[in-house]
Symmetry: C2
Subunit: 363 residues, 2 copies
């Protein structure tokens, strides 16, 4: 059988730095007899600088062929004034859409060693481990009509929230499946009190639950109440499923609760390919952090843990994933911290590269 194939798209800002550390982990697996076929290409502002587009058709085609894509981060102030159609984000959104990566898994996990680092009280977040499943290929991100038009002599900005029953069904199933492997509890969030798309969302999730997952404890919450409850007592949740836009806000909120933002990975999964593996892209939850790019300050852990998610969800290598995660916990327990993980205590930070080396050593 061919080696598993990976396309690495480091992107912008700290993307290339953190991805360099992931390469070390991939190489370590190669040295242990599990080689990956790795190719690398441009996305986001980096692709725009080289080709005038945030994702070339050739890169898109490659992404469709590999077993999994690893993406760093896209965007930066340098690209703020670009036309909407070529902004760095469009590259990322095109990958999500054309690969049909409808289920975005965003674990919000509080690492013991970092519980003090949260802005929340320790008892509120210590041991926190929730999973947000965000719909990623539809909703207001992609709905038509959209744009800025002129009506009655003034401009009007328009976007459309659209969800079909089958779009809701498939992401609901992903969330129910995950719930079964975890605490067997799913909470679905929308604004059914205000939006008809939320009414349909609630109804379809309920029906999928009743018909296919009666064993999973299902509840519904308005997204505003969800934001409150996540802030008040996040441990009440196990798996949360929500739409693209609410998922964007709520998963960032949940990530920030943990105090471990530079630590959090994500997986975006689609339908199975011919080889049985799902279409998949893995990326850290953090952004491109242009303010610290190129200074060796970035934390590579989120990106390394994204590779661990690839091992688990794309390659069915759960033990290898556990091993990477254990290595990360070990270096944290040993007291290693990149700059983002340091509070007032005056410990010296380790560089991006030293953190990567330490994790490889711990493997």
């Amino acid at each position: 059988m061919a080696n598993p194939s990976l396309l690495i798209l480091p992107g912008d800002g700290i993307g290339p730095e953190v991805m360099a550390e992931v390469r070390k982990v991939i190489d370590w697996f190669g040295s242990q007899g599990t080689p990956f076929d790795v190719s690398e290409d441009l996305v986001g502002g980096a692709a725009y600088d080289a080709h005038g587009t945030p994702l070339t058709d050739a890169t898109m085609a490659k992404a469709q062929e590999v077993d999994a894509v690893l993406l760093g981060a896209v965007g930066g102030p340098k690209y703020d004034d670009l036309d909407f159609s070529v902004k760095p984000e469009r590259g990322l959104l095109r990958l999500r859409k054309e690969m049909d990566l409808f289920a975005n898994l965003r674990p919000a996990q509080c690492f013991d060693a970092l519980a003090d680092f949260s802005s929340l009280k320790k008892d509120v977040v210590a041991g926190l481990d929730i999973m947000i499943v965000r719909e990623l290929t539809s909703g207001v991100y992609f709905g038509e009509p959209r744009g800025i038009v002129t009506e009655n002599n003034e401009r009007v900005g328009i976007n459309t929230q659209r969800y079909t029953e089958s779009e809701i069904e498939r992401v609901a199933r992903s969330a129910f499946e995950l719930a079964r492997k975890r605490g067997n509890k799913l909470c679905s969030m929308e604004k059914a009190n205000v939006m008809e798309s939320g009414i349909l969302w609630r109804e379809v999730v309920q029906r999928v639950g009743d018909e296919e997952y009666p064993d999973v404890e299902l509840s519904h919450m308005y997204a505003d109440a969800g934001a409150m409850q996540l802030t008040r007592w996040p441990k009440q949740f196990d798996v949360i499923v929500t739409d693209n836009l609410f998922g964007d806000l709520l998963s960032d909120l949940a990530a920030m609760l943990t105090g471990s933002l530079g630590m959090l990975p994500s997986a975006s999964l689609g339908l199975p390919m011919a080889n049985g593996r799902p279409k998949a892209m893995y990326e850290p939850v953090h952004g491109s952090a242009p303010d610290i790019a190129g200074q060796g300050k970035a934390n590579p852990i989120a990106c390394i843990l994204s590779f661990a998610m690839a091992l688990r969800y794309s390659f069915d290598m759960g033990e290898a994933a556990d091993r990477v995660e254990a290595a990360v916990e070990k270096v944290l327990a040993d007291g290693l911290r990149t700059a983002d993980l340091l509070g007032e205590e005056g410990r010296a930070p380790v560089s991006t590269s030293d953190m990567g080396d330490a994790i490889v050593a711990a493997l």
Copy 2:
């Protein structure tokens, strides 16, 4: 001159209980030579039960005539299965829309006496005092087309986000004006990296700032980053302006940060009427809390502080408003707590009615 007129709409759940305490405060002002003309009517589920609609045309007409509306809360599980068009929330949304209450002011303030009650660390929230200005009459709450339609043999839920330049301008002005009276700092939040309506939002807010409020420090943030930053270090903000849907989530999040949810009022303001007063509705940020309704457990402070906002924003009675706010701080400093404000410490809670009486006594 005629007495200032108020329409009281207690609504559902704990609405009537908390409003009864506001009446005591209003009566106290009457006894001191500042009488209000008060009428009362139904909204939400209560109106549906009586009239088959969450807001009758007659009530709507009254709301248009008075100087200010005070609303309790709407909704409850009893009404969950009602058709969307007659859900309790539609009554509230009709009031907002037909009175054209475009600027929703939601202060998120941490009361000293309650700082411990937040799920956030004390230093993160003590002294917090931010103001969220949420656009309230447009966006995805009201945009057309909307509904659930059938396409290709399946149902599709549709809502439309729409913002015109003038809608953005007017709420931006409200926010800039408030910023000038406060810390002179405004942060505008949208998803301009993904939504064209966000691009227009950002551009218009920037233009209003450049042309009319160059003295106010203006910044922009993506709404997901906003959710993060509110969680991480909310004191970085002074005034935040954002659209209807983001405002719904972000203001609830901000409210929860303070640990003082049962304490937080809001004002919804529109254009000036013939008498110079703005169209206005005041309501607590908390919901109808059906689980504790009718038990004397509800905290009337948010609703009483909403009346204080009415004194300030509708009746130009800033000193009277200060007086109500001081009375609230006094009873809190005296240790009075309704059940929602009690942690583990085993103090006995005071009832809704006792809290109202104590505040009147403190006046």
